[in-house]
Each structure stands twice: as structure tokens, then as C-alpha cells.
Amino acid sequence: MSFRRGLAEEGVACGPSRSALAAEALRALDERSRNDVYWALRSTLISRPEDRDAFDRLFTRFWTGQTATPLPPSRSAPRDPEAQAGRPRNRRGGDQGADAGGGAPADDGDGDGDETEVGEAQSGAVASAYERLGSLDFRAYGPEELALARRLITRAAQQVPRRRSRRLEPSHVGRRRIDFRRTVRDSMRTEGEPLRRAWRTRKLVPRRMVFLVDVSGSMRDYAVPILLFCQMAIRAGRGTETFAFGTRLTRLTPHLRAGSAAAALERAVRIVPDWAGGTRIGANLKAFNDDWGRSGMTRGAIVTIVSDGWERGDVGLLEEELARLQRTSRTLLWLNPLAGDSGYEPLAAGMAAALRHVDGFLPAHNIASLEGFVTRLAQLE
């Protein structure tokens, strides 16, 4: 079915079992009016509200008979520059762009030592490369470093914190309660006498985490390693969510979860329409609170914002939405790659305002700082 391929082109995952379902739905219709066909296909081919726009675009083309070329021109045009921006650059230079330079007051202090470290890591033994990698600033990463870092970042991301679930499991320790089912069963062995009591206790499950990652121009050297961390947390935990934002909010969770990790990360980077563009943190937090926070995604969750705090929009709005986010989440943390510099002070207007509303503020400029973040998560429980 070419319609399904068209959806895939639009970035909407749609397996063969769905087209079988769609065919069945079409057969079940009394008439094949445009309206009926629309609903039959929509209710079987997609199952996310955010896919509705792509579906509608495609359906219009499909119905008006332009199905020979189901290629969406909207997305394929800006693909090339996005792909390039997504690839971490080999060396850092003065080409960070006008918006990045302004956004990073502490940017120029700590760079000099990094470049020599890159050279050594490339020629050195793997063990020492790992060791060095821990403290190497993400900004100095090239493709080799990212490949090496994958394992370390994965290991860090897998240590997600746990919480007590309402689900019970057999246990002998802790705050336990009687497991009647097993007690009665076991009593069969002792002629109906419940000699041994069986117990159960509340199970430990991974706590939900939500990552909101700034992918604007001033963050572009950090975004890929950070998203790699998020991706591994998604795959290790349960219900972990990742969103990217610059000028608008993009939910990356399904893209980061599907398929092989490396390919999924590349795809996720391509899908963000405003990669390495401007930032409106407040407006994006608002979009998140309205579309996702309100329905309960943040309840009981650890919400982590990764951003340099360089707000181009309204700082008042940023404060308001942060306060809202802090109220609905269990813990609100802010990771700032610039905070890795010893001389860092939260001078950016957005950052200064944000500090009043977060439960923790940590650096995120290298693997060691991500490990520090994970340690902090463990202490929260």
C-alpha cells in the first residue's frame, strides 16, 4: 500500500499489520465516500494525535489522485543542513555562529586544554582513552570520541533511580504483608494448616524521568552526547521521555526508542525541525506543560532540563512555567553544560531566573558530570 509508504516518509511508523487492519476496515464500510475512507484509514493507520497532520496532508494528496509521488516536499528540503548540524564536529573553532557566541559568556576560558586531549586520545591506548574521555568536554568531541563515549554514557544512563511501585512481589524482607493466595496454597501441603505464611512487598520499579533538551545553536556541541544519554535512559528505564526544543518542542521518545541505537539517534536529530536554531525556553516549557504535563506525564517524575539558560523570549514566562513544572513534578533538575567551568556564574537572564525554581543545578559538559548527575538521582530516593 503506497499510502503506508507515504506515512513512513513523513516519519510516521506504520507496520504491515496496520495495513492489513486498514484493508479490513475499508471492507467493513458501507460506502466509500471520502469521509468514510478517511476515518477508516485514520483509525487504523495512526494512533498518535501528533501524527494527524501528516496523515491529513497525505490523505488529501492520496484522495485527489496525486499518489504517484507521495514524497513530502516539506521535510525533505531542509534535510541536508540538519544532518550536518547533527553530526558532531571534529574540531571546535570560531565558527559557532553569532547566536552562540552571545549565549555563552563563560565559553572561552576552558577550551585550550581540550584540543591536546583530543590528539592524545586518538593515538593512545583504549583504556587511557576511556579515562581521559571522562573529563573531556563534549565540545571537543569528534566522531571517534562519540563512538568511544557510547559505552560510558550507556553505562551511566542505565543507573536510573527506582521507586516503590504499587505492584506487589513475593518477599521475605522489608515492609511486607501477607500473601493469602500462596498461604492457602502452601497450607495444602500441611493438611490445611496454614503453618507457613507467605509474604509480599511493594516492588521497586524505575522512576519515570522526563528530559527536556535544548538543541538551539548555542547548545549544538552538547546536544548529541546528551541525547545519547537520554536515549540510553529511555531504553533502560520505563516511561522515560525525551523532548528536544529550540524554537519549538519535538517529542523524540518514539524515534529514540525504535531500531538500532546509532541509527535512531541520527534519525531523531534529523527530525528536529529547528536543530541549532534559536531558543525560546519559556514558550517551550509552556507547550510541554500544556500538552504533556497537564495530562500527568510529570506526576511523580524527575524532570530534567538540559540547557545553557540563554532565553531569547520572555523571562517572566520562563519563571512562571518553571514554577508550574516544579509543582507538578517530583523533582525538577537543571543541567547546564556551561556550569562545568569553574568560573561559571549564572549571568544569562533566563538562568538566573530559573535557579529560583529548580531543586538542583548541575553541570553536564562531560561524562564525569553525567555520572555526577546519576549519583545525584540516586540520592533523591
Binding site: 487492519l21 476515518w39 487504523t44
Partner: protein, 306 residues
């Protein structure tokens, strides 16, 4: 699809719309089409949408409309087989064991007795499976996003073949698979495997014209003018920046409150009844800033499109 009860599969979309309207549920054409498909294809219907758009209400209305029993399973975190499918009545089992001490029956028979239907506690899913003679029941699995992965996986299996195995009793299969409606508020994404089995529908807030009809139907004391004013005010509210925009349920509650107080829709008295419509202090403040008088202005067309 040959074994489906012809009565349900033969209901056309327009007929279904009428049947639902008889139950005071006004479905738009998209929803009616999708429900018709779900009935014909015997697939579960997965409904998502903002709180208060009428997801749960649809299941209730549908059950009434097709003359079926409604069986509801409210999901929550940690829900398991003992809560959703069946459990044993342990206190009765214990008492029975005590009675046995007096030496009433032989041991073999006693064990069989202990795990017989007499001691079985039926929970909603087992009820739905056993209820199928004549019209299959409507099984509402409410807020499935609140349950955890384990339960979702279990449900996936159940929805595939509608049979349950109780180790002590054997396998119980449904004669008529129930009509299944799942709802989710999207606090988390459901597994794709579950979604693929379902017909999916996203419920939006109704248009102003439709909401007027709903109010007229649900609040008999509200006349056309009041219903229109209320629907337009709510449509304007939904365009404001609210923490929780009101759903249809709130519109109906609000209009009913206004009717029962007999005060009419006047800006001066808006705040007295606002609690039925807006459930956050910030939202009432936002509405006040916008102006209660502007909110209740007679239709000038600006909000009627939504």
C-alpha cells in the same frame, strides 16, 4: 468475520448515531464511523483525548444503545490479575478448612472444593468473558495508561483470544467476545503492540453548534439562548491560556448549576458558578482578566468556528 453476531455488525453508521443520540450522546460523523467499524471488525476501540471530552461517557451510551451490559474496569498502577480478573475468597477458604478439621469430608474432595467456583471471586474481565450469551457486554477498560507494563502485556494477550486460564479450574473462553473500549489520557505512550490491535480515535472538543445541542439535550432547563451563550463562553475559555480547559462535562455541569440557581448567565454572577467550570484558581483569574462580560458577550462570530 462470519461468527460475529449479525445484529451488531449490521448497524450502519447513521443508525448508530441515532441510537447514541437516543442515549443523549451526540457523536460526530467521524466517531460514529469509527465505532461502527469497531463493532463490525470486532476490534477493541482505543479512545484518547483531553479529560472531559466524553470518552467514558461513550462507553456508557454505547452499552445502553445496543442494549448490552456495561462492565467497567478502572485501571490504576499495580492493578493485577487478582484485581482485574479473579481472586479466591481467602477468608471463606480458611473457614472451610477449619470446618474440615471436624472431619466432614475426605482430603481429595476437600482440595477440589477449596478451588471451586464457590470460592471464586469474579472481577470485571472474567465477568466480561463469562457474560456472553445473547448480546455481548461492553467492556470499558478505563485509563489504561495508569496501569503498568505488566498489566498491559497481560491485556494484550486477553484481547487477542478472549480466554482466561485459571490453573485450578481450567480455561474459560468467551462465547461472544465483548465489545471493548479502552480509554487513555496519554500520561504515557501505550505499547505499539496494543495499539496495532485497536481501532484508534482521538476525541476533540466539540464545535460550538454541537456543544449547544449537547447542552440542550443534557440540561432540559436551558433554552436555546442560554445554551448558545454557555457554549460560546466555553469556546472562548478554551482559546484562553488555561491550566485545564473545560471539557464538555464541565460545560454541562456549569449550565446545570446556572439553571438550578435560576440566576441566568450574567457577568456579575459568573464567579459564583465558575467552580463547576474552571478547576484551578489561576484559570478563574485568567478568565477574570479576559473579562467575564467579554466571555458572555452574545455571539459575534469570533468563537463560533471552534
Amino acid at each position: 468475520m462470519g461468527q460475529t453476531p449479525s445484529s451488531l455488525a449490521s448497524i450502519g453508521r447513521d443508525r448508530l448515531e441515532e441510537l447514541l443520540a437516543d442515549q443523549s450522546y451526540l457523536a460526530d460523523r467521524g466517531l460514529a464511523t469509527v465505532v461502527t467499524l469497531a463493532l463490525r471488525m470486532r476490534k477493541p476501540l482505543l479512545l484518547e483525548g483531553d479529560a472531559g471530552v466524553g470518552k467514558t461517557e461513550l462507553a456508557k451510551a454505547l452499552a445502553q444503545a445496543i442494549g448490552a451490559r456495561l462492565i467497567r474496569l478502572q485501571c490504576y498502577e499495580g492493578i493485577d490479575v487478582a484485581h482485574a480478573v479473579y481472586d479466591w475468597n481467602y477468608s471463606r477458604q480458611m473457614l472451610y478448612l477449619r470446618a474440615l478439621d471436624a472431619g466432614v469430608a475426605g482430603e481429595r474432595a476437600a482440595v477440589d472444593d477449596l478451588f471451586s467456583r464457590e470460592f471464586l471471586v469474579r472481577r470485571p474481565l472474567l465477568e466480561a468473558i463469562e457474560a456472553g450469551d445473547g448480546v455481548p457486554p461492553v467492556l470499558l477498560i478505563d485509563e489504561i495508561d495508569r496501569a503498568d507494563d505488566e498489566f498491559e502485556a497481560f491485556l494484550l494477550e486477553l484481547l487477542a483470544d478472549f480466554q482466561i486460564t485459571i490453573p485450578e479450574l481450567g480455561t474459560i473462553a468467551a462465547q461472544e467476545p465483548p465489545v471493548v473500549i479502552l480509554t487513555s489520557n496519554r500520561t504515557r505512550e501505550l505499547h505499539d503492540a496494543l495499539k496495532r490491535r485497536c481501532i484508534y480515535h482521538w476525541l476533540d472538543h466539540p464545535s460550538v453548534a454541537r456543544e449547544v445541542e449537547i447542552i440542550r439535550l443534557r440540561v432540559p432547563g436551558a433554552d436555546e439562548d442560554m445554551a448558545r451563550a454557555a457554549a460560546e463562553a466555553v469556546a472562548r475559555l478554551r482559546q484562553l491560556d488555561l491550566v485545564k480547559p473545560p471539557g464538555v462535562a464541565e460545560t454541562v455541569d456549569w449550565t446545570a448549576a446556572v439553571v438550578s440557581l435560576g440566576c441566568g448567565l450574567r457577568p456579575e454572577e459568573f464567579e459564583d458558578t465558575a467552580g463547576t467550570l474552571l478547576k484551578h484558581r489561576e484559570d478563574i483569574e485568567t478568565a477574570a482578566r479576559f473579562g467575564f462580560d467579554r466571555l458572555l458577550e452574545a455571539g459575534n462570530g469570533e468563537a463560533t468556528s471552534g
